[in-house]
Amino acid sequence: MNPLTPMPFPETSFALTLGLLLLAPMAIAGVALVNTGLGRSRSAAQSLLGSLVVISTAVIAFALVGAAIAAGTSADHVFHLVSKAWNWAGAGPLFLKGFTFAGPRAQLAFLFELLSVALVALIPWGSGADRLRLPAGAAIAAIMGAVVFPLVAHWVWGNGWLAQLGINFSAGSGFFDGGGVAAIHALGGVAALAVVWIAGPRQGKFPREGLSTAMPGHNVVYALLGCLIALVGWLAWNMAGSLLWLNTPPSGLVVTAVNTVLSATAALVATFSVTRIRFGKPDASLCANGWLGGLVASSACAGVVSPMAALFIGLVAGIITPLLVELFELALSIDDPSGAISVHGAAGLWGLAAAGIFAQQDGQFVAQLIGVSTLLGLVLPMIYVIFWLANRVLAFRVDPDGERIGMDLHELGGNAYPEFVVHRDESYR
């Protein structure tokens, strides 16, 4: 569990991890496609271009500043409480100084984190679809890449206080997060909640009277294709994470892959059944959310649980994801077009807790719960305050006229589908 522990990392593991990390961007591509498909046609080009913008900004911010905080070195920032060391931030070199001469494992860890920060930034961008401005998306990504993600990544992967819960407090092996559920998905989910709270809902989403207005995704084929593309990336992501952070030998990776597939498929079957029972017919966009929810939950547990446990974890993720999407929209007035708060946030937190339940290690459940508690109780308020301040400097939300004509025309000067008729807001009702 401790990435700094000098573990043997043979050439085969190095080559395998590098190869897997080259496939991992498929997960990012899949999530971007799902986000675009679940948004409106008048904002499709802005959504996909925005994905590239937020990925680029987050990656550059992480490389310049964030990597120094995320790194685990002997000079980390530590405070002492009750005679225990609490390693809360890294103190690596800025601007990737000395990276060329770092060991192969450290370089792979950096590449893993670089891809992770790209995915983290994409999650709130999907939730703010159809009203979040491109500069605001870039600002959010820069904050996530420079400060927020590096802190959590350090706590989890950089020998930080969460990773040391096992050593300091006999809580299992310390908090573990092989596939990056805490540092990527749950973090992205809580950031999405903060963005949605601050930016507010789309115009006409919650009318003064009656139920919320249905604004279905403009291209469910994109969303479903995105799910299939994401599966390839997720398999690579979970296996690379197991090699790097859980010290799984290459021979143990088949179980990780099987668990990933079982969790996703079980989640899809569950969501298909739930929506079939709820609405009389299965809902395609919610099924896409359920599939991703299963993949997210698998990232927490694929490397540490049995296949039957992974199937059960996926099944539960597939049940809670569509129900929460509905609850957030209908009961709580939270407008989340991509469903990221449920898919990445809720399913991620469930996966983390489930990994503690099924990992069969004394004290592991407590370690995982502390991780969940940190994300909800410390990281969410912190992100909200940072984004609230950022919104004062650079307004997140587009002006009403821009939202009315669509983000494509307003921000890019042209539509993604110039030959399509753009419907007026009233046509949704």
Partner: protein, 59 residues
Amino acid sequence: MKYAGLLVMPAGFFLSIAAILLFPPSPQRALFVLCGLAVEAMGLVVAVRGHMQIRGENR
């Protein structure tokens, strides 16, 4: 109300941390951590209700 909820959530986090500081590995420790999570959940509910209230006023 939203800000009150957001202030309650760190209180839950500190309860969870207190659990690992105060208790040796035991079922009581897990229970104490769960109590911390319950406080966070309460804070989240308050924050969400505050959000709904603001939305209702702005409609």
